[in-house]
Symmetry: C2
Subunit: 246 residues, 2 copies
């Protein structure tokens, strides 16, 4: 058996998320079926992060064990041909050690959240950004984000389905920047709770609209209570950017 690492880009729109689900297509299932058609093997793909339904990935890392002999080139080209027309693209394939693990070896994860902040809805970027028509104050959003950086109990920003052992996480980075008509929120941590990025962005958007004050972010965090949450930002503005390994 050879363990392969794959870096995968996908449009989350048509999927129930990365992970196999009974009720709809997933990125994992699509890749596994493509590999089965290619090699006859029933292999399991494991990813650094299980993105939610509708969340995109610029470069998700995953691994899979394959018995038959393949070149990097053949594996990448074969999968890219067989996943069509699903919006998945295998960017890179490398052979890794048998104990390398896309999820457990990962020491850092980066996400990007894109808000389109203009009156008119998106035509070209529909399904790729969260459209907020009222003007947002990026400066107060930046101040609010600063309250969340560091080691905290993020219970407020955690979904009821979250399977993490502990709600305590260290958020290394949460940066808000305005780029033309868009506001980008860049997040980095060793790991995140389920829905954490979307919950944080939902609260930051309330601050940006003036519905919340900057201090309300701090209060929501301190409450350690899901009921203190504003709301989750929708999945289609979120991108898994990168998984980092030692």
């Amino acid at each position: 058996m050879t363990r392969w690492r794959l870096i995968v880009e996908y449009d989350g729109g048509p999927f129930m998320g990365w992970q196999r689900q009974d009720h709809g297509p997933s990125v994992q299932q699509t890749l596994e079926e493509a590999l089965r058609r290619m090699t006859g093997e029933q292999a399991v793909f494991t990813a650094a992060g299980r993105t939610d339904a509708g969340v995109h990935a610029l470069a998700m890392s995953s691994h899979v064990d394959i018995g038959c002999e393949l070149t990097r080139h053949r594996l990448r080209e074969g999968l890219n041909a067989l996943v069509r027309p699903s919006p998945i693209s295998v960017l890179e394939v490398t052979q890794v050690a048998d104990d390398w693990h896309a999820r457990f070896s990962c020491v850092g994860r980066r996400y990007l959240y894109r808000i389109l902040n203009r009156r008119a809805p998106p035509a070209l970027d529909a399904g790729r950004v969260w459209h907020i028509a009222v003007p947002l104050d990026a400066e107060t959003m930046r101040e609010g984000a600063a309250h969340l950086v560091g080691r905290h109990d993020f219970t407020t920003f955690r979904s009821a389905q979250c399977q993490s052992d502990s709600p305590v996480k260290t958020l290394d980075r949460l940066e808000v920047s305005r780029i033309g008509e868009e506001i980008h929120v860049a997040a980095a941590a060793r790991s995140f709770l389920h829905h954490q990025v979307r919950s944080m962005v939902g609260c930051l958007a309330m601050v940006g609209r003036g519905q919340w004050q900057v201090d309300d972010i701090r209060r929501a965090l301190d409450a350690r209570d899901r009921a203190a949450l504003g709301f989750n930002a929708p999945p289609h503005g979120l991108y898994f950017v990168e998984a980092i390994y030692p």
Copy 2:
């Protein structure tokens, strides 16, 4: 009657182009039907450029004459609501003089062509870029582009259906730049011949692949013969960026 200028963004994918066609949906027809549902008027929208089927627009300028009284806000919001689910968005609406004309008043047009130059096909930008899997040499493309800038007879780069009086045009700018995995070709001129940008990009791509030498661009231009053309770049990598007015 009030003459309105509208700046419109659209995804060219589902359309036969800007202009009304018998054989499929167009941006013009979609806007005209939305306006008719809104006001009952059968008005005609005129644009700065008639983009081909599949070509996108970041900010197409157009005008329309409307009899009934409307505010800017109401016109924009009404059209944006009624064009749905078509991927068209009215970005700005302004009242203009009765002799202002989106096409004839326009003194400059800018286009962008996006090439995704990497081995793996696009997942997130499918239908938004021309995917070229073999490495392109952006530097030789830049040299080739320089041969086309200026006042020339562009017969080689003109479609058989072109309705322009003369094949002589002044190309103000044709710049090639590499931005990460993409190569962008930015073109600016007072006006372009039909298929001119796509023809030029098609030839530049042949230079970038090494199938053509830089001098072949010059030779193709001097030939003043459509048969000397390489091929047209596909429409889905092309964006109408901006129309400029005095």
